[in-house]
């Protein structure tokens, strides 16, 4: 455990990048809040899409943030190789991380598209 803690990069630059990632998480949280505030109006599927995809993005980005912190900590250690019965290897974690990034990106895009539709609904005066 102490070996892991020592391997984590605690330089100013690494902490700045971590801080920016936390700010991105806070932004996603604020998007969820905004979606929930508009959610109770009837017949607003795009509001549901916006808040739902923001929430999914928030959860995925949070998991990726924690995963990245772990991976940075493991950088100094020798990577495990795929061995039956030993548990997931570095390659498996890497694949999961990439899949998480893909899904987080897709949910963020969906939230953006939903916001475009919300703006369009406001413009045309369609039922909200």
């Amino acid at each position: 455990m102490s070996e892991l803690a020592l391997a984590i990069d605690l330089s100013g630059l690494a902490n700045l990048d971590r801080f920016l990632e936390v700010l991105f998480l806070v932004l996603l949280g604020a998007m969820v809040f905004y979606g929930l505030c508009r959610c109770r109006r009837k017949g607003a599927p795009w509001v549901l899409v916006f808040s739902g995809s923001s929430l999914v993005g928030f959860v995925l980005q949070g998991a990726l943030f924690l995963g990245r912190a772990g991976r940075t900590g493991l950088r100094g250690l020798e990577e495990a190789h795929e061995t039956p019965g030993v548990g997931p290897s570095a390659e498996t974690w890497s694949s999961l991380h990439a899949l998480g990034e893909l899904l987080a990106g897709a949910s963020f895009l969906l939230a953006g598209i939903a916001l475009i539709y919300l703006g369009w609904l406001g413009r045309t005066g369609a039922p909200k």
């Binding site: 700010l23 932004l27 604020a30 905004y34 505030c37 508009r38 694949s95 990034e101 953006g112 598209i113």
Partner: protein, 154 residues
């Protein structure tokens, strides 16, 4: 090898989708502002624009479209490598005349601009979304308090 390429492709596609999402948020905020031109909506649109610009700069580096050699303290690191870590090597006069190749002029502003855009943009956009959420809540409670009066008039 194929696995590694597939993983890299997945991560690359994720970064591209995030970038598109950032710009979709900008267009959504602009559309909301054009529907009802309030100061708060303009503030949200501008802050999301700053965020999207920072995100674009970050994504271009992640997608290897831009190569950055700059980071704060690169010069001190370079001096340490040449002067201390490799002090035992003898350099010819021609080598010393060339000098270390540093980052290009635009790389410093690019590096700082990317982080400044992300910092200010995400902070301001967070504030914008929170204020708009509060506005939506106030509108909702206002329409609820108006409803019984409307019924009474009928």
């Amino acid at each position: 090898m194929t696995e590694v390429l597939a993983v890299a492709k997945l991560a690359e596609t994720g970064a591209q989708l995030t970038l598109l999402g950032g710009w979709a948020l900008v267009f959504g905020a602009l559309r909301m502002w054009s529907a009802r031109r309030t100061g708060l909506r303009l503030f949200l649109a501008i802050s999301l624009l700053a965020f999207a610009l920072g995100l674009t700069a970050q994504s271009l580096v992640r997608l290897n479209a831009v190569e950055l050699n700059y980071y704060p303290g690169w010069k001190a690191d370079m001096d340490q490598i040449l002067g201390e870590d490799h002090a035992e090597f003898e350099y010819s006069e021609d080598d010393l005349a060339i000098g270390p190749v540093g980052p290009r002029e635009w790389e410093g502003p690019y590096w700082w601009g990317q982080r400044l855009g992300l910092f200010l943009g995400s902070l301001a956009a967070t504030g914008g979304f929170l204020l708009m959420g509060r506005e939506a809540l106030a509108e909702k409670s206002g329409s609820r308090s108006n409803k019984p009066e409307g019924k009474g008039e009928r």
